[in-house]
């Protein structure tokens, strides 16, 4: 009996020092789905785990469909958000989302661009040649897969609603790749392709630079963006920001018994400190194309 008491005296304080399940706050990070939920979870679970370890909060990875994002954010579902730059602008304008950091990836770092492409040898070599052609766009809320190209056309005096034979948006996941393959295999004459997807598909050997003619490319606009809800504790936001900036390509976390590189898993090169005014280009595009948050009926 004295031995048992002694053991209790030794181990009870140790147990009290450990984090008990439910003892830490649980907060959601809403991650906008790029392709599908499965991919979003695989990409961002290591990053969420890393943030939980660094910040001392149990963050949850919540994959969110682009079109549901605003409604769920308004309902208070997310303390932090990871979205494209147009969704950031919408949430900022309508719900006072705070800019945290911008994700960096590829040739243009924290920025990216939208391109209008045609199959090489198709005879389509300039935006003027687009009249009466069949075009395929990426998802409607994609800044570099829809917005930038729609704006490029309007700026060149082309109205996609009237001047094209018709245009379509692919269904299901991997829309950006479908758009590129749509032109590659001749289903469409021209496509709205994100510069980053052209870059990664070329690097992966899925396409070659000689396959396409780039008819126009938009100015560089901010890429995917981390934001924080205005209600989120500023001290916690500062910790998250610091943790994200401290990430290196070598940072790992344990996921399902394996050490996983956080940035590599998330397809991120790092994070950059853009300012809200850097998103003005996106705002201008949204205004010119009558897109949210400035849409007028």
């Amino acid at each position: 009996m004295p031995t048992l008491l002694l053991l209790l005296l030794v181990f009870l304080p140790l147990l009290a020092g450990c984090d008990q399940p439910g003892s830490r706050p649980v907060l959601n990070i809403g991650f906008m789905n790029c392709n599908n939920e499965q991919e979003t979870l695989a990409r961002f679970r290591p990053l969420t785990t890393y943030l939980s370890e660094q910040v001392g909060v149990d963050f949850r990875t919540v994959p969110v469909d682009t079109h549901e994002f605003e409604e769920r954010f308004a309902a208070g579902d997310f303390a932090l958000t990871h979205t494209n730059s147009l969704l950031y602008v919408i949430l900022k304008e309508n719900h006072d989302l705070r800019l945290l950091l911008t994700e960096s990836r590829g040739n243009f770092g924290p920025r990216t661009a939208g391109a209008i492409i045609a199959r090489k040898g198709s005879g389509i070599t300039s935006l003027d040649d687009l009249r009466g052609k069949r075009m395929v766009f990426g998802p409607m809320m994609a800044p570099s897969g829809y917005l930038a190209q729609y704006d490029l056309m309007l700026q060149a005096g082309l109205d996609p609603e009237r001047d094209l034979d018709y245009y379509a948006i692919p269904s299901g996941s991997f829309k950006h790749e479908k758009v590129v393959y749509g032109v590659y295999f001749g289903d469409y004459d021209v496509a709205a392709a994100p510069a980053l997807d052209l870059e990664t598909m070329t690097r992966d050997g899925k396409i070659t630079a000689d396959d396409f003619e780039i008819l126009a490319q938009s100015p560089l606009i901010p890429y995917c963006t981390f934001g924080s809800a205005k209600e989120t504790d500023p001290e916690l936001v500062t910790k998250v920001r610091k943790a994200l900036l401290a990430l290196t390509p070598e940072t790992t976390v344990a996921i399902d018994g394996e050490q996983v590189k956080v940035l590599k898993a998330a397809w991120i090169d790092g994070f950059e400190d853009l300012q809200d005014r850097d998103y003005d280009l996106v705002r201008d595009m949204a205004r010119r194309t009558n897109m949210p948050p400035y849409q007028v009926f």
Partner: protein, 178 residues
């Protein structure tokens, strides 16, 4: 020991062969010296020319696209070439040049410093590969735009890496060594 007639003939033949070989070797060495085949300067220039010709062959299509203003296509071509030769210095320098032309300053600084680190000839004004003017321009703009941002955000690892790269290029322009 007695030598018969055959021994003398063999001995004579061996002696003639040895003298002929020595003469040949001596003459060959003299020819080399006269033709400059072992001249290190010439060998260096030959290697440089061969490298330039090879780089021109590999990156010619990129240069052509760049010259006609097709910068996004030129970048894609570089991405394609990088599949075969990742991190090759000339490709990295070209990438930096195009990134700069397209307005991606930080990324251009990263690429140019990586290129110069692996091939210092790009900073040498006398080299046919020289990109000194471009590097000077990028460093000037970088010191104006990137340096103040980096200094005000010491926690920003990538920004401070860009500043380190800027300082590196600046020191190489000033004639500093690795």
């Amino acid at each position: 020991m007695r030598f018969d007639r055959f021994d003398r003939i063999i001995g004579l033949a061996l002696a003639v062969t040895a003298i002929a070989l020595t003469a040949l070797l001596w003459r060959g060495a003299g020819d080399d010296a006269r033709s400059g085949r072992s001249n290190p300067q010439l060998e260096k220039r030959l290697a440089q020319q061969a490298k330039s010709a090879l780089l021109q062959k590999i990156y010619g299509p990129v240069e052509q696209l760049r010259e006609k203003g097709a910068l996004p296509e030129a970048l894609l071509k570089l991405d394609e070439i990088a599949r075969q030769m990742p991190g090759e210095a000339h490709g990295v320098m070209l990438r930096g040049e195009i990134q700069y032309q397209l307005g991606a300053l930080n990324e251009a600084i990263t690429s140019l410093s990586a290129g110069v680190r692996s091939e210092p000839l790009y900073i040498d004004a006398g080299s046919p590969l020289s990109r000194r003017n471009l590097i000077e321009e990028v460093v000037r703009l970088g010191m104006k735009q990137v340096a103040p941002q980096a200094k005000s955000a010491p926690e920003n690892r990538r920004l401070n890496q860009a500043l380190t790269n800027l300082y590196y290029l600046q020191s190489r322009l000033a004639g500093g060594c690795e």
